[in-house]
């Protein structure tokens, strides 16, 4: 039975993971996402659904525990925040190279370095460009509400298993720490080992005489074979762009100016659109929900309609590059964003749009 609750984004992730039937969570504490593992430990899902929850000795260990679990065909996830996600990049590259599904949550805080525990969106480039070594990408989802924190656990797993590719939920300290109303879905059963072995014939489930041995690996020493593998992976990314681009539009129908923002910044920008419209400026907002695959085609369409676009993000300008690539010079694209854990107000965004496009 579904249930209405008031909870933090981080808590919602944990609740949703249990209810979706996740098999394993491996994590390491880091602010501002520690509530994810704390909530799981409080709820003790190993006593109910059988979900494994383990605190690892490092983010390096947690991503590799996930790597092992994912190889078994299990639904495994971890969560961390920026510095911890940097430590996981090696493991993520292996997971992508071994074509394994898994879900990673990044509750982003400001960097570089140890930085701040306050919200930021400065890990965008790392997230959408793979993040580790090699030609690969993660599926990247950007929730902008606590409800989406819960809902995207399921969506991330569905996409991760559809493509056999790691998926990243790119949140931030604001969505992680704020509380909103959430409708939690009814409890689903975890998949049995037998069902899993039938559904995921690639998984390391122990070699029966009826099949060849399964080897989870990312190593291939023959360059031609490895080039073929890379082509295969790239084809998956093309397919994602065809089938799984997700975005949301606010008042774009008659918009003359377009704000482009994701996650927490998109929430702020909804208010900015309202304030701009109250001033008689026809503004709209495009919110990418999938940052990879990126809704570039949709932005390109809007480039024929609007006079300018403003990418608004809590960073020095990372999303703005993808917007510029998408519209390819058809329309001016400017950037506005605060950094270091400072969050822009809706009014600041209004001022930035006016300054860039309506003054002088």
């Amino acid at each position: 039975m579904s249930e209405l609750r008031l909870m933090k984004g981080n808590e919602a992730i944990a609740e949703a993971a249990i209810r979706y039937g996740v098999d394993g969570y491996f994590g390491y504490p880091i602010t501002p996402q520690s509530e994810v593992m704390e909530t799981l430990m409080e709820l003790r899902p190993w006593e109910t659904t059988g979900m494994v929850v383990l605190q690892a000795e490092s983010e390096i260990a947690s991503i590799n525990m996930m790597y092992g679990g994912a190889g078994c065909g299990k639904k495994v996830m971890t969560s961390s925040s920026s510095p911890g996600i940097s430590l996981m990049q090696e493991g993520l590259s292996y997971l992508a190279g071994a074509e394994l599904p898994c879900v990673v949550v990044n509750v982003v805080r400001g960097g570089p370095g140890l930085g701040t525990i306050q919200p930021a969106q400065s890990d965008y480039s790392q997230a959408v460009n793979g993040g580790g070594h090699g030609d690969y990408n993660l599926i990247v989802l950007a929730p902008s509400s606590v409800q989406e924190m819960a809902d995207f656990v399921e969506l991330a797993f569905e996409l991760a298993f559809k493509y056999r590719n790691p998926a990243l939920i790119l949140s931030d300290g604001m969505i992680g720490q704020m509380m909103e109303k959430v409708e939690l879905k009814a409890q689903k059963d975890r998949m049995s080992d037998q069902e899993l072995a039938e559904k995921y014939p690639w998984a390391t489930t122990g070699k029966p005489s009826s099949r060849e041995r399964n080897i989870i690996t990312s190593v291939e020493l023959d360059p031609y074979a490895f080039e073929r593998f890379n082509h295969k992976v790239q084809a998956k990314y093309k397919q994602m762009h065809k089938e799984d681009v997700r975005f949301e539009q606010f008042q774009c129908e008659d918009a003359e100016y377009l704000l482009v923002a994701y996650g927490s910044s998109a929430r702020i920008c909804q208010k900015s659109v309202q304030l701009l419209r109250e001033k008689g400026i026809k503004a709209g907002l495009l919110r990418p929900i999938t940052l990879f695959p990126f809704p570039g085609v949709e932005l390109d369409k809007l480039a024929g309609q609007v006079k300018g676009m403003l990418a608004v993000e809590l960073s020095a300008g990372q999303l703005v590059r993808d917007v510029r690539l998408a519209v390819n010079g058809k329309v001016p694209v400017e950037h506005f964003g605060r950094m270091g854990g400072v969050i822009h107000s809706p009014e600041e965004v209004v001022e930035a749009l006016e300054k860039n496009f309506l003054k002088g």
């Binding site: 008031l6 704020m178 909804q270 809706p346």
Partner: protein, 183 residues
């Protein structure tokens, strides 16, 4: 209905939990809600604040510059948030420790001496519920029934024996809230 509230005071005054109970009451009443604790450079030396939004519609930004209501529980917060109340809006404050009282003449100002009352009731922890009662008397955005439901949901079950005490505190707040100035 769309009510944008800032609650601000010292850490330990129950600012965040009061916001949570208010937000949960909104959920019980079928509203959209958001609860956003102090963030970034706002978070400084012992002060705590939380933005609570209750609305019939989908909530956009959980972070605001101007509020319909400010609930202010210490002098620093008074200095900081008095000017953020929208004209015609509401300021509710606890007089304890306040040396500079609110001065605006374009907003409605109410005072609820909750610290004093809590000490009379010999229950310092009900302080924030007395304040909440005072606010709800002036602006009954949620019904008392839904406040109690929200409270029940917010408190872990092991604390449910405290529900009657909290209810009494909220009631006391509705009785002692005083009008200072209205527009």
């Amino acid at each position: 209905m769309n009510e944008e509230i800032i609650i601000a005071g010292f850490g330990g005054q129950g600012v965040l939990s009061m916001g949570k109970i208010l937000a949960y009451s909104g959920v019980m009443q079928g509203m959209e809600v958001s609860w956003m604790p102090s963030y970034g450079p706002e978070m400084r030396g012992g002060t705590a604040n939380v933005t609570v939004i209750l609305s019939d519609n989908r909530i956009s930004s959980p972070i605001l510059r101007k509020y319909d209501t400010a609930i202010i529980l210490n002098q620093q917060s008074m200095d900081k948030f008095e000017q953020t109340v929208k004209p015609g809006g509401l300021l509710v404050y606890d007089g304890n420790g306040i040396t500079r009282h609110p001065e605006r003449d374009d907003i409605n100002i109410y005072r609820v001496d909750a610290a004093e009352e809590a000490s009379k009731m010999q229950s310092a922890k009900t302080f924030n519920m007395i304040v909440l009662g005072g606010y709800l008397k002036i602006n009954p955005v949620v019904t008392m029934e839904n406040v109690m439901n929200g409270l029940k949901k917010s408190l872990p079950e092991r604390h449910h024996h405290l529900l009657p005490l909290n209810e009494a505190a909220i009631k006391r707040g509705t009785e002692i809230v005083k009008e200072i100035a209205t527009v």
